[in-house]
């Protein structure tokens, strides 16, 4: 029997003329989208202190490692052809206290860059680093599909930055 998750995203902003929390446009904005997605496996973990030294291949629950998704390790469920769409859905939240001005970085790289114990990824704190897909301030979040075509990994601009990670495998 298929299993479903139901994500909903709304985005609102006020007109730019309002005094409290003005938006970027002359008109108020209200976008909303919802979907029902068929999934099977759920992978969830939190990282209380992201390794902010050299990012290292390995599961963050097993030491000072930074891999969020190892594409090749999940290749059995990866998208193999243009007509077979599996992959997964990812939710990442920077759960560091909002008083932090530091950043959590998310990198995306060729799976061959690090494939086993002791291998490392590119540091993401460098300006213009083209392995850095995005940065999350405390409280920021992302929701997106991922096709297991490479590795997703994390890094941070300082110690004691935390994140929460969810992966829902497409059924």
């Amino acid at each position: 029997m298929p299993k479903y998750i139901n994500p909903t995203l709304t985005l609102t902003s006020n007109a730019t003329s309002v005094s409290r929390n003005p938006g970027p446009l002359s008109i108020a904005l209200a976008l909303q989208v919802a979907d029902s997605l068929s999934v099977d496996l759920v992978d969830h973990f939190t990282i209380s202190a992201i390794n902010n030294g050299t990012p290292t291949w390995g599961h963050p629950q097993e030491g000072s490692f930074n891999t969020l998704i190892d594409g090749s390790a999940l290749a059995a469920t990866a998208e193999a052809t243009s007509s077979t769409h599996t992959g997964c859905w990812v939710v990442i939240l920077n759960t560091t206290a909002v008083t932090s001005s530091e950043l959590v970085y998310i990198g995306y790289t060729d799976d061959n860059d690090a494939i086993s114990s002791g291998q490392t990824y590119t540091e993401l704190s460098t300006s213009n680093e083209n392995k850095r897909l995005f940065s999350l301030h405390a409280g920021e979040f992302a929701f997106f599909p991922f096709d297991y075509t490479g590795d997703l990994y994390c890094d941070a601009s300082a110690s004691s930055q935390s994140l929460e990670f969810w992966r829902f495998d497409r059924a």
Partner: protein
């Protein structure tokens, strides 16, 4: 300073539910919201076909790449094709390349494809302008709506 407020919820029923069963033994209810400082807004509805194209040129957008958390923006993206089983592919390329690359292929053959959007599917993802965002599709005339909110 201009602000936007994204809110995200993800729910699922227990796996034992008789309709729309979820993947876990327990019901799930995740939520997150934030108030983000932004300045410029860019939005477009584009037709995507089987020829890959650059959707967002990181180096040419709002001052281009720079320091994490300062340079960059937030992308709302949805496959708004009316119906069908075809898909839109979203990929990346290092900004220095400034070239679209084919996103259709096996995982081992094409690391540039980040994800796939079926009809109706959506994503909310910050983006640091350190790469280009590339679009491709497995058929002609697929429709993608995106909004890019530049970090203030």
């Amino acid at each position: 300073m201009a602000k936007i407020k994204p809110s995200f919820t993800l729910t699922s029923n227990k796996s034992t539910a008789s309709s729309n069963a979820g993947p876990l033994r327990v019901a799930l209810s995740l939520s997150a919201s934030d108030l983000l400082d932004v300045d410029s807004v860019r939005s477009e509805i584009v037709t995507v076909g089987t020829s890959e194209a650059i959707l967002i040129d990181g180096s040419a957008t709002n001052g281009g790449p720079g320091t994490g958390g300062t340079a960059g923006g937030y992308i709302w993206m949805q496959n708004t094709t009316a119906s069908g089983t075809n898909v839109i592919y979203i990929g990346t390329n290092t900004s220095a390349n400034n070239a679209a690359v084919d996103l259709i292929g096996s995982p081992g053959a094409n690391v540039n494809r980040l994800f796939t959007l079926k009809v109706g599917e959506f994503a909310w993802i910050p983006f640091d302008y350190n790469m280009d965002i590339i679009v491709d599709a497995n058929a002609a005339d697929q429709q993608l709506e995106y909004w890019l909110f530049d970090r203030a």
